[in-house]
Symmetry: D2
Subunit: 349 residues, 4 copies
Amino acid sequence: MFFASDNSGPVHLSVLTALSTANDGYAMGYGGDELTAETVARIREVFEAPEAAVYLVATGTAANSLALATYAQPFQTVFCSDVAHIHEDECNAPEFYTGGAKLTLVPTTDGRMTPEALRATIAGEGTRGVHGPKPGPVSITNVTERGTRYTSAEIAALAAVARENGLPVHLDGARFANALVAEGCTPAEMTWKAGVDVVSFGGTKNGLMGVEAVVLFDPARALEFEYRRKRGGHLFSKHRYLTAQMAAYLERDLWLDLARRANAANARLTRALGQIPEVSFLWEPGANMTFAAWPAAAHRRLFAAGAKYHLWEGSLDGAADDAPIGARLVCDWSMTDENIDRFVDILRG
Amino acid sequence: MFFASDNSGPVHLSVLTALSTANDGYAMGYGGDELTAETVARIREVFEAPEAAVYLVATGTAANSLALATYAQPFQTVFCSDVAHIHEDECNAPEFYTGGAKLTLVPTTDGRMTPEALRATIAGEGTRGVHGPKPGPVSITNVTERGTRYTSAEIAALAAVARENGLPVHLDGARFANALVAEGCTPAEMTWKAGVDVVSFGGTKNGLMGVEAVVLFDPARALEFEYRRKRGGHLFSKHRYLTAQMAAYLERDLWLDLARRANAANARLTRALGQIPEVSFLWEPGANMTFAAWPAAAHRRLFAAGAKYHLWEGSLDGAADDAPIGARLVCDWSMTDENIDRFVDILRG
Amino acid sequence: MFFASDNSGPVHLSVLTALSTANDGYAMGYGGDELTAETVARIREVFEAPEAAVYLVATGTAANSLALATYAQPFQTVFCSDVAHIHEDECNAPEFYTGGAKLTLVPTTDGRMTPEALRATIAGEGTRGVHGPKPGPVSITNVTERGTRYTSAEIAALAAVARENGLPVHLDGARFANALVAEGCTPAEMTWKAGVDVVSFGGTKNGLMGVEAVVLFDPARALEFEYRRKRGGHLFSKHRYLTAQMAAYLERDLWLDLARRANAANARLTRALGQIPEVSFLWEPGANMTFAAWPAAAHRRLFAAGAKYHLWEGSLDGAADDAPIGARLVCDWSMTDENIDRFVDILRG
Amino acid sequence: MFFASDNSGPVHLSVLTALSTANDGYAMGYGGDELTAETVARIREVFEAPEAAVYLVATGTAANSLALATYAQPFQTVFCSDVAHIHEDECNAPEFYTGGAKLTLVPTTDGRMTPEALRATIAGEGTRGVHGPKPGPVSITNVTERGTRYTSAEIAALAAVARENGLPVHLDGARFANALVAEGCTPAEMTWKAGVDVVSFGGTKNGLMGVEAVVLFDPARALEFEYRRKRGGHLFSKHRYLTAQMAAYLERDLWLDLARRANAANARLTRALGQIPEVSFLWEPGANMTFAAWPAAAHRRLFAAGAKYHLWEGSLDGAADDAPIGARLVCDWSMTDENIDRFVDILRG
């Protein structure tokens, strides 16, 4: 009953197989091998972006920070939600990689920026001339850090606000696949057709060991990105082992299949939770992550039974048995129905 | 006949097996799993350093830059050889991670700093008060970028110069294992017993996919390193897949075995080359990398036969057949005698 | 009728005289002259801090950023009010000088942090391990950017919260003198006796051309500060011309006299404004800066008559004559009663 | 007998007068005043560059670092002489302001780069793809740090090498006026007509308290420079006091007059030194700075008589009386014939 994170599950077996296959003799380092060229071409197909520049890195923080650094000057500010991963969970990596840019937080209630809030926040930063930072990129996360989801149309609406202000748009797609299959749109529709300039296309949370692709739809910044990746220590010498994972991910749409499994598991979970009167949802689950609250006694039963998940802004210490306490539950691709049902049964008591 | 680099060869099969074994269900992320704790303990044993702080990252540039950033202030300068990897091949990563420290180059003839040259260089930087940078860490590479090697005693002599000046010592051990088995000393003798404060303990060039350990012998800087690793985007969420590689590397001293294989291959190669009158060595080969020169005609024969290696500061374009041209040859752990013999046969003509 | 800023008024004549006196022949550069040594000693006396390290720079942004950089690591976050000058008006200078530290904003209603809000904000940042930044310095501004003021006791209460968390305390004293004379306490009481580690002791807004002193009560960081000042380009070669201004400032307590004049002017202004029914104060004026609102028609009269000041979060464009619109009014040391009275008369209509 | 530095002499009286005149009542801050607009226009005239962007800062390190940061990316390297002020005397400020760019040193014998050496150095940096830094700006210093001088034609030859490689050109003109009057050319001839993109136009070493202008001949980078200046803490709120100095400097060509005085003094000095058999010149004096060697005994006489200057890479400690020891002598605008003659007399013995 491991609902703690989608970075704690196993990788798909085809990833291991791909690594083994890639391990055949010598290959040019640093991405100069044939498999990398093929995989880059495949990602361009997936995104219907034949000119896009595509690079692989091993962590989501690297993908986001390098993407932002390529689009933000150090004297600018990046606009993102007040719960954005780049703000809360990357230990100043965006500030580091941009050379000291600021993050300006757009207030949200459920992790999703509205166009109005974004517009007002940008306007607020644009009033002080050189005394304040220059407005810079807008960064959108989908799936959001609260488990909610933007539709492609909603992303397009945010990107339109960015465009009004002449600002580029970054999409943190650590859970891109989960958002995509939940909506049922194409990668192009969720990115460049919606006005996104650069996307962190996540693989790690969806069945890979540690691979993210950064896709820059305007290849003019490609060389800059390459230098920045290298000086960040994120260019792998034995690059084929990143590539092999990504190739397996894309092969016969494995990535979509894995995301559908995770989302289906989450749907089963939320359906069951929704039928328990003591359970309330903190935000509307949009893909594979659910925030909900239920009585402390049920948490105690679950932890006693070995369930793994994070409490959400609350503590069981000294809590009354009927006190509602929040939880964050994440389903990864390998989550089983059995686990879900057992979890719900114990919760129900 | 692939002598281009030790980052172009395959990984050892036990690495693949270890990844497969590690892929068993859920594990805590970010290094919070049991295997990581065990592997850290094992590295401490290897280095006879029970208090050391040990961290895994995926690239040598990350290891070096994070180690240096933990020991250097942005207003300092790092002392290293004029051919150091951190100077020539990391695209300003040390400058980036330290926040703008400088590298001051110690002149060398064969990639090895002498204590005298190091002392003179440090003295030269210490004369301008706040107008020049403050002297900072000394960084030593072993095996050097010219294929030569320091003994532990030579490292101790350099570290003594650092200590005279109150400076910490970093060892770039991208080929640590190759240097170690060539000398036949212990990891402790080549590091903390010689005065090294922090070592980049390389695995990638010696049979892993991409794992380096940073070992800080003084744990006082451990927390700082952790924050710096995270904000550099080098903390892996699915950390177990780094750990599994390192665990396999240390298991039954595989790492030493692999290094011995690479060094033995290089010895076979240099023995054969030494018997060819037209071949001259540029520097004395100390481990698994050889720099040598021979007539252009022989280079042409080799490339025509499919040999892969880098010319060294020369070009075949328009070169007379008997003009000597340099080459860099690197043997990795998987190099076969057959390959070596064939290479030498073709070279000999 | 110039109420726009205290950086727009003239310098006191004794400053010009001091520059002229200092211009006598040769002097050692970079602060190595005798007058600098004497002036440093004088500042130590003023602060009753015989061990303090004291440095002069030319701008408040330099003073604040260098002070924070000396106390904050790049992987930390600085706690400050949501309207702090270091956040709103320094164009990412703190992020730049610290190498990418973050600023975490403490919510305020009148520019003043409460101990409770500060404590809660620090606690909120301390929950994510290396995923979030490490808590770093607390920065307090007195006089605040809303014209309100902390007492020394209130500063001590904030510093106590910092101490609970092991964090150092910076005081942005761009208007230190104004705060000091308003309370009637000593410089020591408002700084180190209250728990402040480093203060930006402002001169520019109080009658100098451009000089601020940074006073570090713990001299252990002195050398680091010197290197950071130099590499920021803030070490003046002809340092005596900074020193001469500061010496004149301290001579016979000119600085206190100038601040008293500015505060008295502001008191005259607010007294008069308080008697006009249409005028409401946005926050309680604590020293020499007042935020108030009055009908648009009165603003129009004032601007027509040549008054200079900034509207506060409002616009006269299309505003009804009786619509209340905010204004920021600042009195510098040279403000005359005549100007104030005329301003109020016109406002009153 | 103060030959230690041209930053140790007094400012010209007209500078003090200008400050006094500028101190008339209120003025808009941050360069928004009329005098600044006029002075910018005047500098454009001086450089025959009606479109140029012109900014004032207070130190040469600020001018150089901000200029370089505007033209260099953090993953680039700046080419400069091995004795450049930006390398030797700015405590990593260029590395800081560029966000971690490297400086690649061009070997010189007398402080002057040759086109051949520059071309070879650039070529050497361009061979490693993303493993090495990307070639960035070329920075030239005139007058050089060895007192030698480039002609405008020599600068044009260096700039041509930069252009071949697509690189921008920075001129560190801390002693621009001295170089200019020594050659007898126009500011335009020494800068944009020779291929210079941005110049640090020094005033501090030539009679001002602390003002340098940065002139960007392509105004496209103007806004970026403004943001960078602000976030460096180098935008003066009471900007008029920088402007007033620069205005006085340009008034009736005072700047050229002051430089002519300094150069004439240096010429008198070198003429006299040249007639003393025991004196040898280290490099050919080109403007107002001379490096020469003479017997230790004469140094001892001079210091005993109160002369102030720096020894050059040597020490009197234990030196034999007839041992030649080097010295650096700098004449500022206020140097008197009497001082020079007395210095030479004592030296002669």
